[in-house]
């Protein structure tokens, strides 16, 4: 940091009106605001998880957001909110996001929480600033504030010509305001910008190749790095050969090896790629390590207590045991989902510039990354490099859509380590094989369902999950949460102590069943220090592929099990599954999304003959957005191939900020949901992932991780239930959760095959046909 700017000089530092959301007590995190609206945050001051800033200067209105644009349109939506409250145009508002120096911490951008949490505080901050401007204007024009109207940056006295611009009012103003929770907000009926289909602010630059993604970041003097990964999760470094061949490549700089971390650095990306390629550059040999839990036996292995460290009952209402004991029949079914990838279209990349000593502003390492959490990554990288956290600056740059904790953080660690060693800025571009083979995965999950249905509907329900961790994100205090950290001998964080809102997300249901239990069996991802220990043993021995947060976490698998089993019970009890859902819910918002798809359900195909329809419902995280989904499928009996013909989604996420943006999110959820349901499955053998590409290379039958193609995408109808008087709820993940069950229920209606394992491949359909 530059010499600390005192509070006094900060206030004298220029014309500005600053709203700091948790800036109640002091200014210790704000160091300076300069005339173009830039503000520096003192990185040594404690970061709050809810803090954000809004800075108005004569030249600019700037939002400092710890939440970042991940390709889902949140920047556009947040800009709409600020422009609305401040009576500005969209183009008047600029956005600085994800910079550990400039922007306060807001935790991770994840879990569909950006709008849900960010919108509330930002809206109130903008209202706070507007109220302050209104007072300034009233004073300046010598009229009562009630006589003023504002439009696009200018106050006017109603019915008169006299006016004053914000720009003028801000000149000479130096105010830092805490969030004023009673500052009046624009009433929903008066919205001009919120609730409209404002265009995405980032798209024009993306369509003209002007937008700088992480992969496009270059800095002066930058070198290019590539990593060479071990032959498997548990393999250990043995030796490097053919170094001379790599050395002969023009532009080659050096080979780096620390423990199991191996990389090459060169002056061009092509040279680095050649040097890292075993057919043209170095060859690395590895000592094989123990195999992971056999993939084919995952459904039984996850259920095996020997592989678990904990079992917990996380919900127990009524008396499930008594209900089961007295029932004429207890129905049972088991479900399973495999490991899934995030599978960003762009392989992860990052740039790091690590210097031997801090520069004048105190920064020694600067890292550009598509991370979901700049502050945590800063801490983890500080541990990796042995540099204090305040001397590390992490700048968020948008990468290809990530859908959770993918390879972005690990690539940043690779770049940082290589840069530290070569003493120059290094850009690391992962190959597709690096990404497919090493990104953190959404874990496999198994489910045992038990239930009782009687004339009164479903009366008892028990869901047991067998789950690996969904939460291995970078920890600010542990470099072992980064792949490079593990390669150099650091241990990952202990495994979670509960399923909670992670593997357990949406494992409970919101139906009014009299008796319901959810039990979670937590599975070891690696060998731990004892049978019930969640702490990794040394040396680290993986039992499963490394897993972390993927869109909806356990939600997709849990709702697949819940909503499929709901149909199984409904049909066993002689109920119409759609009607039984209506009869098992009381929340009017739940009922209204189901009502919205009722016309589709009423006009559904009869079922049988290979064509059928199904529905699924969930309330995301039990308390957030409501989603009801209707799906029609055609199943080809001869081949077993499922094709989704039509999808209708009804969605209530409270106040809608941008209807078109919301529809786009829902469409994305539906399409990714179909893909994960029908096609996606990570395969591995021994301790190595074998699905390393999107498709088998021509002429081979190598395993591949394939995703949906354009001609497999059905027509998608979205029905938006707007609730202008209700809080905004996130929409990044709720709809995906319903897709697997809705498809499975439709397949059952079409051909009588009940699919309880994802993906629903043609072979599985044929095997399940009655």
């Amino acid at each position: 940091m530059t010499a600390r700017v005192s509070r006094r000089s900060f206030l004298a530092g220029g014309s500005s009106l600053v709203v700091g959301f948790t800036l109640l007590g002091g200014l210790d995190r704000a160091e300076a605001a300069n005339p173009n609206g830039l503000l520096r945050i003192n990185p040594t001051a404690p970061a709050s998880t809810t803090e954000a800033w809004l800075v108005l200067t004569p030249g600019a209105t700037t939002v400092y957001s710890g939440k970042v644009e991940l390709g889902t349109g949140v920047q556009t939506a947040l800009t709409q909110i600020v422009a609305e409250e401040l009576r500005l145009r969209m183009s008047d508002v600029q956005f600085v996001q994800g910079d550990t120096v400039l922007v306060p911490s807001q935790g991770f951008t994840a879990g569909s929480k950006t709008l849900q949490q960010g919108a509330v505080t930002l809206r109130q901050a903008a209202a706070t600033a507007y109220a302050a401007l209104l007072n300034l204007a009233a004073h300046y024009l010598r009229v009562d504030p009630s006589r003023l109207v504002a439009h696009e940056g200018r106050f006017r006295i109603a019915q008169r010509e006299t006016s004053v611009s914000y720009r003028k009012l801000l000149r000479g103003t130096n105010t830092v305001l805490p969030l004023n929770t009673s500052a009046p907000q624009v009433a929903p009926v008066d919205y001009r910008i919120v609730g409209t289909d404002a265009d995405r602010v980032d798209l024009p630059a993306k369509l003209t190749a002007q937008f700088r993604y992480t992969t496009d970041v270059t800095v002066p003097g930058m070198l290019h790095g590539r990593v060479v990964r071990p032959s498997g999760r548990n393999a250990n470094f043995n030796s490097i050969g053919n170094v001379d061949r790599a050395q002969a490549i023009p532009g080659f700089v050096r080979v780096v090896q620390i423990g199991n971390f191996v990389g090459v650095v060169a002056t061009s990306e092509w040279a680095a790629a050649r040097a890292a390629n075993p057919t043209t550059g170095i060859t690395v040999s590895w000592t094989p390590g123990p195999a992971l839990v056999n993939e084919a036996s995952l459904p039984t292995a996850l259920r095996d207590p020997a592989n678990q460290y904990k079992a917990t009952v996380e919900l127990d209402t009524g008396d499930v045991d008594a209900a089961f004991a007295s029932a004429a029949k207890v129905y049972q079914a088991s479900y399973f989902s495999p490991f899934h990838m995030h599978g960003a279209v762009g392989a992860s990349s990052a740039v790091a510039d690590v210097r031997p000593a801090p520069d004048a502003s105190g920064i020694q390492a600067t890292v550009w990354s598509g991370t979901q959490g700049v502050n945590n990554l800063r801490g983890a990288i500080s541990g990796l490099l042995g540099i204090s956290a305040p001397a590390v600056r992490v700048l968020y740059t948008e990468a290809a859509g990530c859908y959770g904790h993918n390879g972005a953080d690990d690539a940043a660690a690779d770049a940082a380590l290589l840069s530290q060693i070569v003493g120059k800025p290094v850009r690391v571009q992962w190959t597709r094989q690096n990404e497919h083979g090493w990104e953190p995965l959404g874990p496999a999950q198994a489910h045992d369902m038990r239930g009782v249905v009687s004339g009164a509907g479903i009366t008892a329900w028990m869901h047991t999950i067998y789950a690996a961790t969904h939460g291995s994100r970078p920890s600010a205090t542990n470099a072992g949460t980064l792949l490079a950290g593990q390669f150099i001998g650091k241990l990952p964080d202990p495994l979670p102590s509960s399923a909670g809102d992670a593997s357990g997300r949406n494992s409970e249901v919101t139906y009014t069943f009299a008796n319901q239990r959810m039990e979670a069996h937590l599975v070891k991802s690696f060998v731990t220090t004892g049978p019930t220990s969640a702490t990794p043993a040394t040396p680290l021995v993986h039992l499963l592929p490394r897993s972390s947060s993927l869109r909806s976490l356990g939600g997709l698998s849990n709702t697949f099990a819940n909503e499929s089993f709901f149909d199984e019970l409904a049909l066993a009890g002689g109920f119409d599954p759609f009607q039984l859902r209506l009869d098992s819910l009381t929340d009017p918002r739940a009922l209204s999304v189901l009502d919205a798809i009722k016309p589709a359900w009423r006009s559904r195909p009869r079922g049988g003959n290979g064509v059928g329809a199904g529905v699924a419902y969930q309330q995301y995280e039990l308390v957030n957005a409501y989603v009801a989904t209707y799906v029609e499928v055609a199943v080809d009996a001869a081949s077993g191939k499922i094709s989704v013909q039509r999808v209708v989604v009804a969605h209530d996420c409270g106040l809608i900020i941008n209807p078109d943006g919301l529809r786009h999110q829902i469409e994305g959820n539906v399409i990714q949901g179909i893909s994960r349901t029908l096609k996606e499955e990570v395969h591995y053998a021994g301790d190595a992932i074998t699905t390393l590409l999107w498709a088998a290379p021509p002429g081979t039958s190598a395993p591949a991780y394939s995703v949906i193609r354009f001609n497999e995408v059905p027509p998608i109808e979205t029905i938006l239930v707007d609730r202008p008087d209700q809080p905004v709820l996130g929409a990044g993940e709720p709809a995906i959760g319903t897709m697997a069950a809705a498809i499975g229920n439709a397949v059952f209606a079409a051909c009588g095959a009940r699919l309880r394992t994802l993906p629903m491949t043609a072979e599985r359909v044929k095997a399940a046909l009655p």
Binding site: L207, A209, W270, V345, G346, H664
Partner: protein, 173 residues
């Protein structure tokens, strides 16, 4: 040592690489500052690196410079519009109109792939506007003329297809 002159978006540019097995993608990004073509897979499976060479659709991640003729015309997304914002190509405009992209990392592929395809149809006298189904099959590599698949992971497929149909309507006029 490979030295070549190409016409990049209409302008003559000299490139010189130590090794002309170097893929065009790296030449374009590292030497010619192009940002449109992206590294997605490096094995011709996703489309992110698509450019046109003499009007032909090329996956630049697997196209060595040695296979590009001296003097060849290379078109990238970077050069599709003139500096003037009002001069966007119909494909760019249609992608914006339909808001056809979330992260939009993939759209270089769909825009340049559709450009080569539609232009190729027009050049051979086919001035019909393809049906959405045909566009979806094309982008899936499921047509007689192309086996190249284009991947979008965010799920912007319906909008991308709509945008290409809309742009085709303008391009055939």
């Amino acid at each position: 040592m490979g030295q070549k002159t190409i016409r990049l978006n209409g302008k003559k540019r000299k490139v010189s690489v130590p090794d002309d097995s170097q893929q065009l993608l790296y030449v374009l990004r590292e030497q010619l500052d192009q940002q449109g073509p992206k590294f997605g897979c490096g094995v011709a499976q996703c489309g992110a690196c698509t450019v046109l060479v003499d009007g032909k659709i090329v996956r630049s991640c697997v196209t060595p410079l040695s296979s590009v003729a001296d003097g060849a015309d290379v078109s990238t997304l970077d050069g599709l519009a003139t500096d003037d914002d009002d001069d966007l190509h119909p494909l760019q405009r249609a992608f914006l109109d339909k808001q056809a992209g979330q992260c939009a990392f993939c759209v270089n592929g769909m825009v340049m792939g559709a450009l080569g395809w539609l232009q190729g149809r027009i050049d051979t006298g086919n001035r019909s506007v393809p049906e959405p189904r045909e566009v979806a099959d094309y982008l899936s590599g499921a047509t007689p003329e192309s086996t190249l698949n284009y991947i979008c992971r965010c799920g912007s497929h319906p909008r991308i297809v709509e945008a290409i149909c809309a742009a085709a309507g303008k391009m055939v006029k």
